[in-house]
């Protein structure tokens, strides 16, 4: 049943994409729009549910937690803050439902302190996320932790604003 619904949703999505594609063509729209087809179900169930963390499309859906893949940390800390747990739980649900999916957890730090120590700290941040995923039943075969320490900042200024954006674990899907 679930598969059938997903198939329906895909068909509708395809129709929507086709409709959009038609809109951008220079051809004038037909004067009389075709009447909407008879519906068998309410609209809501046909749409993509952003809380369906088993659905691959939610990885690219800005409304879904699955689309959020960066966990931020306090200075010199590697514990996952409460506000980021739902994101990790969403990915745990996805990885459990999709056993061929694989992630690399990239651990990063800010620029303060020595580089090799920061490699260790970045790994600890990756490991924290890995442990939470594991606690929610994800197989360790699906996860690899790679620490970049301070070598791959997303922000280059030397201030707290940048530093907090750089202290992170990125969940990178290598297979969906």
């Amino acid at each position: 049943m679930k598969t059938a619904m997903r198939f329906m949703a895909l068909v509708l999505l395809a129709a929507l994409v086709a409709a959009c594609a038609r809109e951008v063509t220079p051809e004038p729209a037909p004067p009389e729009p075709t009447p909407p087809p008879e519906r068998e179900r309410p609209v809501e169930t046909d749409r993509l549910d952003p809380r369906d963390f088993t659905d691959v499309r939610n990885l690219d859906n800005p409304d879904s937690l699955l689309n959020q893949r960066v966990i931020y940390f306090e200075f010199d800390r590697s514990n996952v803050r409460a506000e980021f747990r739902p994101i990790i739980e969403a990915h745990a649900a996805y990885l459990q439902a999709n056993s061929s999916a694989r992630v690399i957890l990239e651990g990063h730090t800010d620029e303060r302190g020595s580089r090799e120590y920061n490699l260790g700290l970045g790994e600890r941040r990756g490991n924290s996320v890995q442990e939470l995923l594991g606690a929610h039943g994800v197989s360790s075969r699906q996860i690899e932790v790679v620490s970049y320490g301070e070598e791959r900042p997303v922000c280059r200024a030397s201030n707290e604003d940048c530093w907090q954006r750089n202290r992170r674990t990125e969940i990178v899907y290598t297979a969906r």
């Binding site: 303060r112 302190g113 090799e116 260790g120 620490s147 070598e151 791959r152 200024a157 030397s158």
Partner: protein, 427 residues
């Protein structure tokens, strides 16, 4: 002697060394232009100019400009000591460059004279290979320095560093560069779009171990600077980092996290023996550094909550905490005298500076004044500590004397410079 199979470094990667602070009463010395008795064309920069620049950079000498010299002797009998006393110099270096035996390379003959007593302190001849005249001038500088200061010079050495070039908004280009200690002759050893860090010189100066992310994961690679060959020596799951050579050059202490967190391991430089785990602790254990006699390994650990420097026997036994002053002490670099340990030090969370821990007095002294200073590396004679700093939003290198009196800044025209490593004396 010359490095082979390397590329010239990208434009802008050459370091220019500026003195920030020198010592009061630096020794007045004159290095007269050397006679050029060779069939080959004279170089643009004379041997005397290279020697003068070296001595000036050390902060301990005040060499006279050549255009103020009213006399230019090249052999001891030609020296009129009264003239040099009048010019208020204490010492005089003179010499000549001729073709080497069978026309191969050059010979540098030089003399160091005490202007006040008229005595000849040094009289030597040095054979140099073709293309190695600059290096020959560095060796003369080393001999003059040692004769007058009492400790060996460190001019005939090289430095390795990483330059990061930005390519547009997102991309970067990492270059591992080896240059002469005066910044000349920069050669790129490796280039990659992925991070490169932690270069470490083998004790004979022929190889560099470093950490590369070229595969998307950290690996430790050994690069031979003369044959151009390189080999991955560690690619375990997790971190492969912080290579440090044992003094005999046969093993490397490294940080591997194959057990789940970084521990110090000993690996064979030729890959003949199985890696051996030295620390067994759930904390971060990294940044190993051997004592000069090879008996001990210093390393960083946060087993007490925050990073501090510890020491253990090279067998992994008898772990003792070394640093207690400050909240953060890491990345130990040991001077050859076995007494001074340079570290990255912080009292809070924001200012990271280079400090020296004196093993005799057990006291810690802060030497640098930046906010993000890191990666200290001792000169092989213990005179200076080279480190990475940030200046005007860019990564630069800086050097400070072990007593804190002499400061230098090593600048490039572009790129971010970091991860300096000073080579051993190259013979």
């Amino acid at each position: 002697m010359a490095l082979v199979l390397l590329w010239p470094a990208l434009a802008g990667a050459q370091l220019r060394i500026e003195i920030v602070d020198g010592v009061e009463g630096a020794m007045p010395i004159a290095v007269a232009p050397f006679a050029w008795d060779s069939q080959t064309p004279a170089p643009e920069v004379g041997v005397n100019e290279i020697i003068s620049a070296n001595l000036r950079r050390s902060g301990l000498f005040d060499p006279m400009d050549a255009d103020q010299m009213i006399d230019r002797p090249t052999r001891p009998p030609e020296v009129r000591f009264g003239t040099w006393r009048m010019l208020r110099v204490d010492h005089l270096v003179i010499g000549r460059v001729s073709d080497g035996p069978d026309g191969w390379g050059h010979e540098i003959e030089y003399h160091l004279l005490d202007v006040h007593t008229g005595r000849i302190l040094l009289s030597q001849a040095l054979a140099v290979s073709p293309g190695d005249l600059r290096f020959g001038a560095h060796r003369v500088s080393d001999a003059v320095y040692e004769a007058l200061i009492g400790t060996p010079g460190a001019f005939a050495t090289r430095i390795a560093y990483v330059v990061v070039h930005e390519l547009g908004e997102e991309n970067e280009y990492f270059e591992l560069v080896v240059a002469d200690a005066d910044g000349f002759n920069p050669q790129a050893v490796v280039r990659n779009t992925q991070p490169i860090l932690s270069p470490a010189w083998s004790p004979d100066g022929s190889r560099l171990a470093y950490v590369s992310f070229a595969t998307g994961r950290s690996n430790i690679i050994i690069q031979d600077l003369y044959t151009g060959q390189n080999r991955v020596i560690s690619e375990a799951r997790g971190i492969n980092g912080a290579p440090a050579w044992s003094p005999d050059g046969e093993q490397l202490a490294v940080a591997l996290s194959r057990g789940g967190s970084p521990d110090i391991w000993l690996i064979d430089a030729e890959g003949r023996r199985q890696p051996r785990q030295l620390t067994h602790h759930w904390s971060i254990n990294t940044e190993p550094a051997f004592s000069p006699d090879g008996r001990y390994i210093y390393f960083t650990s946060d087993r007490a909550g925050r990073p501090q420097v510890y020491r253990m026997d090279a067998s992994g036994e008898n772990v003792t905490r070394i640093t207690f002053e400050g909240r953060y002490n890491s990345r130990p670099s040991m001077a050859d005298n076995d007494r001074y340990l340079a570290v990255v030090h912080s009292d809070g969370d924001n200012d990271f500076r280079i400090a020296i821990h004196d093993r005799e007095t057990e006291r810690l002294r802060v030497l640098s004044d930046g906010r993000l200073d890191e990666s200290p590396s001792f000169a092989p004679n213990g005179s200076m500590i080279l480190y990475a700093a940030r200046h005007d939003g860019r990564g630069v290198l800086a050097a400070v004397s072990a007593d804190g009196r002499i400061r230098q800044r090593l600048v490039t025209s572009e790129g971010d410079v970091r991860e300096p490593a000073w080579s051993p004396i190259i013979r």
